[in-house]
Protein backbone atom coordinates (compact mmCIF):
# COMPACT_ATOMS: atom_id res chain seq x y z
CA UNK A 1 0.00 0.00 0.00
CA UNK A 2 1.25 3.43 -0.92
CA UNK A 3 1.46 6.46 1.31
CA UNK A 4 3.20 8.67 -1.25
CA UNK A 5 4.37 8.44 -4.78
CA UNK A 6 6.34 11.30 -6.26
CA UNK A 7 6.97 11.19 -10.01
CA UNK A 8 9.37 13.70 -11.52
CA UNK A 9 8.47 16.16 -8.83
CA UNK A 10 10.42 19.40 -8.81
CA UNK A 11 10.08 22.06 -6.15
CA UNK A 12 11.68 25.48 -6.32
CA UNK A 13 12.41 27.82 -3.43
CA UNK A 14 14.39 30.77 -4.77
CA UNK A 15 17.56 29.34 -6.27
CA UNK A 16 17.14 26.00 -4.53
CA UNK A 17 15.64 23.15 -6.53
CA UNK A 18 14.48 19.88 -5.02
CA UNK A 19 13.88 16.93 -7.30
CA UNK A 20 12.22 13.60 -6.61
CA UNK A 21 12.40 11.63 -9.84
CA UNK A 22 10.75 8.54 -8.46
CA UNK A 23 9.98 8.21 -4.77
CA UNK A 24 7.63 5.63 -3.40
CA UNK A 25 6.82 5.60 0.32
CA UNK A 26 4.85 2.71 1.75
CA UNK A 27 2.11 2.95 4.33
CA UNK A 28 2.88 2.09 7.93
CA UNK A 29 6.65 2.60 7.64
CA UNK A 30 8.92 5.05 9.41
CA UNK A 31 11.21 7.02 7.10
CA UNK A 32 14.18 9.03 8.30
CA UNK A 33 15.32 11.92 6.12
CA UNK A 34 18.93 12.82 6.77
CA UNK A 35 21.45 15.15 5.23
CA UNK A 36 23.45 18.29 5.94
CA UNK A 37 21.94 21.72 6.62
CA UNK A 38 20.26 23.24 3.61
CA UNK A 39 20.12 20.01 1.62
CA UNK A 40 16.32 20.22 1.33
CA UNK A 41 14.96 18.07 4.18
CA UNK A 42 12.39 20.67 5.21
CA UNK A 43 11.53 21.36 1.57
CA UNK A 44 10.77 17.68 1.05
CA UNK A 45 8.45 17.68 4.07
CA UNK A 46 6.71 20.77 2.76
CA UNK A 47 6.00 18.97 -0.50
CA UNK A 48 4.82 15.88 1.38
CA UNK A 49 2.59 18.04 3.62
CA UNK A 50 0.87 19.16 0.39
CA UNK A 51 1.10 22.76 1.59
CA UNK A 52 3.63 23.70 -1.09
CA UNK A 53 2.68 23.03 -4.66
CA UNK A 54 5.65 21.68 -6.60
CA UNK A 55 6.69 23.46 -9.79
CA UNK A 56 6.31 20.24 -11.72
CA UNK A 57 5.64 16.51 -11.52
CA UNK A 58 2.93 14.40 -9.96
CA UNK A 59 2.28 13.81 -6.26
CA UNK A 60 0.09 10.89 -5.24
CA UNK A 61 -0.97 10.62 -1.62
CA UNK A 62 -2.84 7.61 -0.25
CA UNK A 63 -3.32 6.29 -3.77
CA UNK A 64 -5.02 9.51 -4.88
CA UNK A 65 -3.38 12.06 -7.15
CA UNK A 66 -3.17 15.42 -5.40
CA UNK A 67 -5.20 18.07 -7.18
CA UNK A 68 -4.09 21.41 -5.75
CA UNK A 69 -6.84 23.21 -7.65
CA UNK A 70 -9.68 21.21 -6.11
CA UNK A 71 -9.97 23.01 -2.76
CA UNK A 72 -12.16 20.49 -0.92
CA UNK A 73 -10.31 17.38 -2.14
CA UNK A 74 -6.98 19.03 -1.34
CA UNK A 75 -8.17 19.93 2.17
CA UNK A 76 -9.47 16.38 2.74
CA UNK A 77 -6.08 14.98 1.77
CA UNK A 78 -4.22 17.52 3.87
CA UNK A 79 -6.31 16.59 6.91
CA UNK A 80 -5.06 13.02 6.74
CA UNK A 81 -1.59 14.39 7.32
CA UNK A 82 -0.20 15.96 10.49
CA UNK A 83 2.87 18.10 9.98
CA UNK A 84 5.14 19.29 12.75
CA UNK A 85 7.12 22.17 11.30
CA UNK A 86 10.67 23.01 12.23
CA UNK A 87 10.51 25.79 14.85
CA UNK A 88 6.75 25.44 15.27
CA UNK A 89 4.61 28.36 16.34
CA UNK A 90 2.28 28.00 19.31
CA UNK A 91 -0.87 30.09 19.23
CA UNK A 92 -1.40 32.73 21.91
CA UNK A 93 -3.83 30.60 23.90
CA UNK A 94 -3.69 27.90 26.56
CA UNK A 95 -1.64 24.78 25.96
CA UNK A 96 -4.84 22.71 26.08
CA UNK A 97 -6.48 24.80 23.33
CA UNK A 98 -3.34 24.64 21.20
CA UNK A 99 -3.44 20.85 21.32
CA UNK A 100 -7.19 20.72 20.67
CA UNK A 101 -7.04 23.12 17.70
CA UNK A 102 -6.57 20.53 14.93
CA UNK A 103 -9.25 18.26 16.40
CA UNK A 104 -11.75 21.14 16.48
CA UNK A 105 -10.97 21.89 12.83
CA UNK A 106 -11.88 18.28 12.07
CA UNK A 107 -15.15 18.61 14.03
CA UNK A 108 -14.20 15.87 16.50
CA UNK A 109 -16.94 15.79 19.20
CA UNK A 110 -16.01 17.73 22.38
CA UNK A 111 -15.98 14.65 24.66
CA UNK A 112 -13.68 12.80 22.28
CA UNK A 113 -11.49 15.91 21.94
CA UNK A 114 -11.15 16.14 25.73
CA UNK A 115 -10.26 12.47 26.02
CA UNK A 116 -7.62 12.61 23.31
CA UNK A 117 -6.08 15.86 24.50
CA UNK A 118 -5.88 14.57 28.09
CA UNK A 119 -4.28 11.35 26.88
CA UNK A 120 -1.55 13.08 24.90
CA UNK A 121 -0.94 15.55 27.75
CA UNK A 122 -0.39 12.60 30.06
CA UNK A 123 1.76 10.66 27.59
CA UNK A 124 4.11 13.58 26.96
CA UNK A 125 4.14 14.71 30.62
CA UNK A 126 2.64 18.11 29.87
CA UNK A 127 0.42 18.30 33.00
CA UNK A 128 2.57 20.85 34.86
CA UNK A 129 1.88 23.51 32.23
CA UNK A 130 -1.30 22.31 30.52
CA UNK A 131 -3.28 25.29 31.85
CA UNK A 132 -0.67 27.91 31.01
CA UNK A 133 -0.61 30.23 28.04
CA UNK A 134 1.61 28.66 25.39
CA UNK A 135 3.63 31.86 25.01
CA UNK A 136 4.95 31.50 28.56
CA UNK A 137 6.66 28.14 27.90
CA UNK A 138 10.37 27.45 27.49
CA UNK A 139 11.69 26.28 24.12
CA UNK A 140 11.76 22.60 25.07
CA UNK A 141 8.28 22.73 26.62
CA UNK A 142 6.92 24.49 23.55
CA UNK A 143 8.42 21.82 21.29
CA UNK A 144 6.68 19.07 23.28
CA UNK A 145 3.37 20.92 23.11
CA UNK A 146 3.75 21.34 19.34
CA UNK A 147 4.50 17.65 19.08
CA UNK A 148 1.44 16.80 21.20
CA UNK A 149 -0.66 19.01 18.89
CA UNK A 150 0.53 16.90 15.95
CA UNK A 151 0.30 13.46 17.57
CA UNK A 152 -3.21 14.04 18.96
CA UNK A 153 -4.59 14.18 15.42
CA UNK A 154 -4.02 10.44 15.00
CA UNK A 155 -3.32 10.97 11.29
CA UNK A 156 -2.63 8.46 8.54
CA UNK A 157 0.65 10.23 7.84
CA UNK A 158 2.86 12.10 10.26
CA UNK A 159 5.60 14.47 9.08
CA UNK A 160 8.00 15.50 11.81
CA UNK A 161 10.67 18.09 11.11
CA UNK A 162 13.42 17.68 13.72
CA UNK A 163 10.80 16.71 16.26
CA UNK A 164 13.10 16.36 19.24
CA UNK A 165 15.12 19.54 18.63
CA UNK A 166 15.44 21.41 21.93
CA UNK A 167 13.73 18.65 23.92
CA UNK A 168 15.45 17.51 27.13
CA UNK A 169 17.21 14.18 26.73
CA UNK A 170 14.98 12.58 29.39
CA UNK A 171 11.90 13.31 27.24
CA UNK A 172 13.42 12.31 23.89
CA UNK A 173 13.01 8.61 24.67
CA UNK A 174 9.41 9.17 25.78
CA UNK A 175 8.55 11.04 22.58
CA UNK A 176 10.26 8.52 20.32
CA UNK A 177 8.48 5.66 22.06
CA UNK A 178 5.11 7.35 21.55
CA UNK A 179 5.77 7.91 17.84
CA UNK A 180 6.86 4.29 17.40
CA UNK A 181 3.76 3.12 19.29
CA UNK A 182 1.44 5.10 17.01
CA UNK A 183 3.23 3.60 14.03
CA UNK A 184 2.94 0.06 15.40
CA UNK A 185 -0.63 0.20 16.71
CA UNK A 186 -2.31 2.60 14.28
CA UNK A 187 -0.22 1.93 11.20
CA UNK A 188 0.71 5.61 10.94
CA UNK A 189 3.24 6.39 8.24
CA UNK A 190 5.99 8.55 9.71
CA UNK A 191 8.48 10.68 7.80
CA UNK A 192 10.90 12.58 10.00
CA UNK A 193 13.99 14.66 9.48
CA UNK A 194 16.94 14.53 11.83
CA UNK A 195 20.55 15.55 12.15
CA UNK A 196 21.20 12.63 14.47
CA UNK A 197 22.29 9.47 12.70
CA UNK A 198 21.70 7.51 15.91
CA UNK A 199 18.10 8.74 16.08
CA UNK A 200 17.63 7.85 12.40
CA UNK A 201 18.89 4.32 13.10
CA UNK A 202 16.87 3.95 16.31
CA UNK A 203 13.61 5.02 14.74
CA UNK A 204 13.76 3.83 11.16
CA UNK A 205 14.90 1.11 8.78
CA UNK A 206 14.08 3.26 5.79
CA UNK A 207 16.51 6.13 5.30
CA UNK A 208 16.00 8.85 2.72
CA UNK A 209 18.89 11.07 1.71
CA UNK A 210 19.03 14.21 -0.37
CA UNK A 211 22.12 14.68 -2.49
CA UNK A 212 22.51 17.82 -4.61
CA UNK A 213 18.77 18.43 -4.35
CA UNK A 214 17.89 14.92 -5.53
CA UNK A 215 15.79 12.86 -3.11
CA UNK A 216 16.98 9.28 -2.86
CA UNK A 217 15.40 6.44 -0.99
CA UNK A 218 18.15 4.16 0.21
CA UNK A 219 16.50 0.77 0.35
CA UNK A 220 14.56 -1.42 -2.02
CA UNK A 221 11.34 -0.88 -0.11
CA UNK A 222 11.30 2.78 -0.98
CA UNK A 223 12.76 2.59 -4.46
CA UNK A 224 10.35 1.49 -7.02
Amino acid sequence: MTAYRLDRVEGRWGNFVLRATELHLQRGKIYAVTGPNGCGKTSLLQVLSLLDRPAGGRVTCGGERVDYDDGSAWLRQRRRIAYLMQQPYLFNMHVYDNIAYGLRLRHVPPAETRRRVREVIERLALEPFARRNAHTLSGGEAQRVALARTLVLDPDIMLLDEFTAGVDQRYVEMVEAYVRELNATRGTTVVFTTHSSSQAQRMSDHPITIVDGEVRACDEATRR
Binding site: S49, L75, Y83, Q87, F91, N92, L105
Partner: protein, 230 residues
Protein backbone atom coordinates in the same frame (compact mmCIF):
# COMPACT_ATOMS: atom_id res chain seq x y z
CA UNK B 1 -9.75 76.93 45.48
CA UNK B 2 -13.18 76.93 47.14
CA UNK B 3 -15.05 77.37 43.91
CA UNK B 4 -13.34 74.27 42.50
CA UNK B 5 -14.40 72.11 45.46
CA UNK B 6 -17.86 73.59 45.30
CA UNK B 7 -17.92 72.75 41.58
CA UNK B 8 -16.90 69.14 42.26
CA UNK B 9 -19.59 68.78 44.97
CA UNK B 10 -22.26 70.26 42.70
CA UNK B 11 -21.14 68.10 39.80
CA UNK B 12 -21.64 64.94 41.87
CA UNK B 13 -25.18 66.13 42.63
CA UNK B 14 -25.82 66.64 38.91
CA UNK B 15 -24.61 63.12 38.17
CA UNK B 16 -26.61 61.59 41.01
CA UNK B 17 -29.71 63.58 40.06
CA UNK B 18 -29.60 62.18 36.50
CA UNK B 19 -30.41 65.58 35.01
CA UNK B 20 -32.22 65.17 31.69
CA UNK B 21 -30.02 67.54 29.70
CA UNK B 22 -26.95 65.96 31.23
CA UNK B 23 -28.08 62.45 30.20
CA UNK B 24 -29.00 63.60 26.69
CA UNK B 25 -25.52 65.10 26.25
CA UNK B 26 -23.82 61.91 27.42
CA UNK B 27 -26.06 59.83 25.16
CA UNK B 28 -25.18 61.92 22.07
CA UNK B 29 -21.48 61.57 22.85
CA UNK B 30 -21.67 57.81 23.25
CA UNK B 31 -23.89 57.30 20.21
CA UNK B 32 -21.82 59.42 17.80
CA UNK B 33 -18.48 58.12 19.04
CA UNK B 34 -19.57 54.46 18.98
CA UNK B 35 -20.97 54.82 15.46
CA UNK B 36 -17.91 56.58 14.06
CA UNK B 37 -15.55 54.11 15.78
CA UNK B 38 -17.57 51.13 14.53
CA UNK B 39 -17.47 52.46 10.98
CA UNK B 40 -13.74 53.18 11.20
CA UNK B 41 -13.18 49.68 12.64
CA UNK B 42 -15.14 47.89 9.92
CA UNK B 43 -13.19 49.69 7.20
CA UNK B 44 -9.90 50.45 8.95
CA UNK B 45 -9.00 47.02 10.34
CA UNK B 46 -9.28 45.09 7.04
CA UNK B 47 -7.56 47.97 5.24
CA UNK B 48 -4.72 47.97 7.78
CA UNK B 49 -4.34 44.20 7.53
CA UNK B 50 -4.32 44.36 3.75
CA UNK B 51 -1.70 47.10 3.66
CA UNK B 52 0.44 45.25 6.23
CA UNK B 53 0.66 42.26 3.88
CA UNK B 54 1.86 44.41 0.95
CA UNK B 55 5.52 45.04 0.37
CA UNK B 56 5.22 47.60 -2.43
CA UNK B 57 6.52 51.20 -2.25
CA UNK B 58 2.89 52.31 -2.68
CA UNK B 59 1.91 50.47 0.49
CA UNK B 60 4.78 52.07 2.39
CA UNK B 61 3.64 55.49 1.14
CA UNK B 62 0.10 54.77 2.35
CA UNK B 63 1.43 53.77 5.78
CA UNK B 64 3.36 57.06 5.96
CA UNK B 65 0.19 58.97 5.06
CA UNK B 66 -1.82 57.05 7.70
CA UNK B 67 0.80 57.80 10.34
CA UNK B 68 0.74 61.48 9.41
CA UNK B 69 -3.06 61.62 9.52
CA UNK B 70 -3.07 60.13 13.02
CA UNK B 71 -2.17 63.53 14.39
CA UNK B 72 -4.56 65.47 12.17
CA UNK B 73 -5.88 68.48 14.10
CA UNK B 74 -9.59 68.09 14.77
CA UNK B 75 -10.37 71.63 13.62
CA UNK B 76 -8.72 70.92 10.26
CA UNK B 77 -11.00 67.92 9.79
CA UNK B 78 -13.92 70.04 10.96
CA UNK B 79 -13.05 72.76 8.44
CA UNK B 80 -12.52 70.26 5.62
CA UNK B 81 -15.82 68.45 6.14
CA UNK B 82 -17.58 71.76 6.78
CA UNK B 83 -16.45 73.04 3.39
CA UNK B 84 -18.04 70.00 1.76
CA UNK B 85 -21.27 69.98 3.76
CA UNK B 86 -21.96 73.70 4.03
CA UNK B 87 -24.73 75.13 1.86
CA UNK B 88 -22.20 76.38 -0.73
CA UNK B 89 -20.19 73.13 -0.65
CA UNK B 90 -20.42 70.25 -3.16
CA UNK B 91 -22.51 68.16 -0.74
CA UNK B 92 -24.51 71.08 0.61
CA UNK B 93 -27.74 69.78 -0.92
CA UNK B 94 -27.68 66.82 1.38
CA UNK B 95 -28.40 69.10 4.34
CA UNK B 96 -26.09 67.22 6.67
CA UNK B 97 -24.37 70.15 8.37
CA UNK B 98 -25.20 70.45 12.09
CA UNK B 99 -26.49 66.89 12.28
CA UNK B 100 -25.23 63.83 14.13
CA UNK B 101 -24.41 62.30 10.73
CA UNK B 102 -21.98 65.15 10.03
CA UNK B 103 -20.36 64.53 13.43
CA UNK B 104 -20.05 60.81 12.63
CA UNK B 105 -18.42 61.62 9.26
CA UNK B 106 -15.93 63.98 10.88
CA UNK B 107 -15.10 61.61 13.71
CA UNK B 108 -14.75 58.73 11.25
CA UNK B 109 -12.07 60.74 9.40
CA UNK B 110 -10.27 61.19 12.72
CA UNK B 111 -10.55 57.56 13.81
CA UNK B 112 -9.83 55.80 10.52
CA UNK B 113 -6.10 56.61 10.24
CA UNK B 114 -5.57 55.66 13.88
CA UNK B 115 -7.37 52.32 13.64
CA UNK B 116 -5.93 51.45 10.21
CA UNK B 117 -2.42 52.64 11.09
CA UNK B 118 -2.26 50.83 14.42
CA UNK B 119 -3.75 47.71 12.79
CA UNK B 120 -0.86 47.80 10.31
CA UNK B 121 1.62 47.90 13.20
CA UNK B 122 -0.09 45.13 15.14
CA UNK B 123 -0.37 42.81 12.12
CA UNK B 124 3.13 43.55 10.82
CA UNK B 125 4.51 42.57 14.22
CA UNK B 126 2.82 39.18 14.21
CA UNK B 127 4.71 35.97 13.68
CA UNK B 128 4.83 34.98 10.02
CA UNK B 129 4.29 31.31 10.90
CA UNK B 130 0.73 31.72 12.22
CA UNK B 131 -1.17 30.98 9.04
CA UNK B 132 1.23 28.25 7.87
CA UNK B 133 0.98 26.56 11.26
CA UNK B 134 -2.82 26.68 11.16
CA UNK B 135 -2.77 25.20 7.66
CA UNK B 136 -0.29 22.50 8.70
CA UNK B 137 -2.87 21.44 11.30
CA UNK B 138 -5.65 21.21 8.72
CA UNK B 139 -7.08 24.73 8.51
CA UNK B 140 -8.50 25.97 5.23
CA UNK B 141 -7.82 29.52 4.01
CA UNK B 142 -10.69 31.09 6.00
CA UNK B 143 -9.82 29.17 9.19
CA UNK B 144 -6.16 30.13 8.98
CA UNK B 145 -7.19 33.77 8.47
CA UNK B 146 -9.47 33.58 11.53
CA UNK B 147 -6.55 32.28 13.57
CA UNK B 148 -4.42 35.13 12.24
CA UNK B 149 -7.11 37.61 13.33
CA UNK B 150 -7.31 35.94 16.71
CA UNK B 151 -3.58 36.29 17.22
CA UNK B 152 -3.83 39.97 16.28
CA UNK B 153 -6.76 40.58 18.63
CA UNK B 154 -4.95 42.56 21.32
CA UNK B 155 -3.24 44.87 18.86
CA UNK B 156 -6.45 45.42 16.93
CA UNK B 157 -8.46 46.02 20.09
CA UNK B 158 -5.85 48.52 21.26
CA UNK B 159 -6.16 50.25 17.86
CA UNK B 160 -9.95 50.44 18.20
CA UNK B 161 -9.62 51.76 21.75
CA UNK B 162 -7.19 54.43 20.63
CA UNK B 163 -9.59 55.43 17.85
CA UNK B 164 -12.50 55.58 20.27
CA UNK B 165 -10.45 57.60 22.76
CA UNK B 166 -9.58 60.10 20.07
CA UNK B 167 -13.16 60.73 18.89
CA UNK B 168 -14.76 60.55 22.33
CA UNK B 169 -12.48 63.30 23.62
CA UNK B 170 -12.36 65.56 20.55
CA UNK B 171 -14.14 68.89 20.44
CA UNK B 172 -13.23 70.58 17.12
CA UNK B 173 -15.17 68.31 14.78
CA UNK B 174 -18.22 68.12 17.03
CA UNK B 175 -18.36 71.88 17.46
CA UNK B 176 -17.87 72.76 13.78
CA UNK B 177 -20.00 70.03 12.23
CA UNK B 178 -22.58 69.47 14.98
CA UNK B 179 -23.13 73.06 15.94
CA UNK B 180 -23.65 72.23 19.65
CA UNK B 181 -27.45 72.05 19.38
CA UNK B 182 -28.92 71.15 22.76
CA UNK B 183 -30.48 67.68 22.90
CA UNK B 184 -29.38 66.89 19.35
CA UNK B 185 -25.72 67.50 18.56
CA UNK B 186 -24.46 68.72 21.92
CA UNK B 187 -22.04 66.15 23.25
CA UNK B 188 -19.86 66.00 26.35
CA UNK B 189 -16.92 68.00 25.02
CA UNK B 190 -18.90 70.75 23.30
CA UNK B 191 -21.17 71.06 26.35
CA UNK B 192 -18.13 71.31 28.61
CA UNK B 193 -16.70 74.15 26.53
CA UNK B 194 -20.05 75.95 26.48
CA UNK B 195 -20.95 75.50 30.16
CA UNK B 196 -17.49 76.57 31.31
CA UNK B 197 -17.77 79.72 29.21
CA UNK B 198 -21.17 80.38 30.80
CA UNK B 199 -19.67 79.92 34.25
CA UNK B 200 -21.60 76.68 34.85
CA UNK B 201 -18.52 75.09 36.26
CA UNK B 202 -20.27 72.19 38.03
CA UNK B 203 -22.00 71.00 34.84
CA UNK B 204 -18.66 70.99 33.04
CA UNK B 205 -16.98 69.01 35.82
CA UNK B 206 -19.83 66.47 35.86
CA UNK B 207 -19.39 65.89 32.14
CA UNK B 208 -15.63 65.69 32.58
CA UNK B 209 -16.10 63.00 35.20
CA UNK B 210 -18.24 60.98 32.79
CA UNK B 211 -15.56 61.36 30.13
CA UNK B 212 -12.91 60.04 32.49
CA UNK B 213 -15.15 57.23 33.74
CA UNK B 214 -15.87 55.99 30.21
CA UNK B 215 -12.13 56.03 29.43
CA UNK B 216 -11.45 54.12 32.65
CA UNK B 217 -14.16 51.51 31.98
CA UNK B 218 -12.90 50.92 28.44
CA UNK B 219 -9.36 50.41 29.74
CA UNK B 220 -10.49 48.06 32.53
CA UNK B 221 -12.46 45.96 30.03
CA UNK B 222 -9.38 45.75 27.80
CA UNK B 223 -7.18 44.68 30.71
CA UNK B 224 -9.71 42.03 31.77
CA UNK B 225 -9.83 40.71 28.22
CA UNK B 226 -6.04 40.40 28.16
CA UNK B 227 -5.87 38.80 31.58
CA UNK B 228 -8.44 36.19 30.67
CA UNK B 229 -6.09 34.54 28.20
CA UNK B 230 -3.08 34.42 30.50
Amino acid sequence: MDYIWQGVRDSLQIIAGLDREFLATVFVSLKVSFLSTALATVLGVPFGMWIAEKRSPGARAIITVLNTLMSLPTVVVGLMVYSFLSRRGPLGEWGLLYTQTAMVIGQFILAFPIIAGLSVSSVAGLDKRIRTTARSLGADTAQSFRMFLREARYGILAAVMAGFGRVFAEVGVSMMLGGNISGYTRNITTAMALETNKGEFAFGIALGLVLLTVALVVNILFSLFRERSR
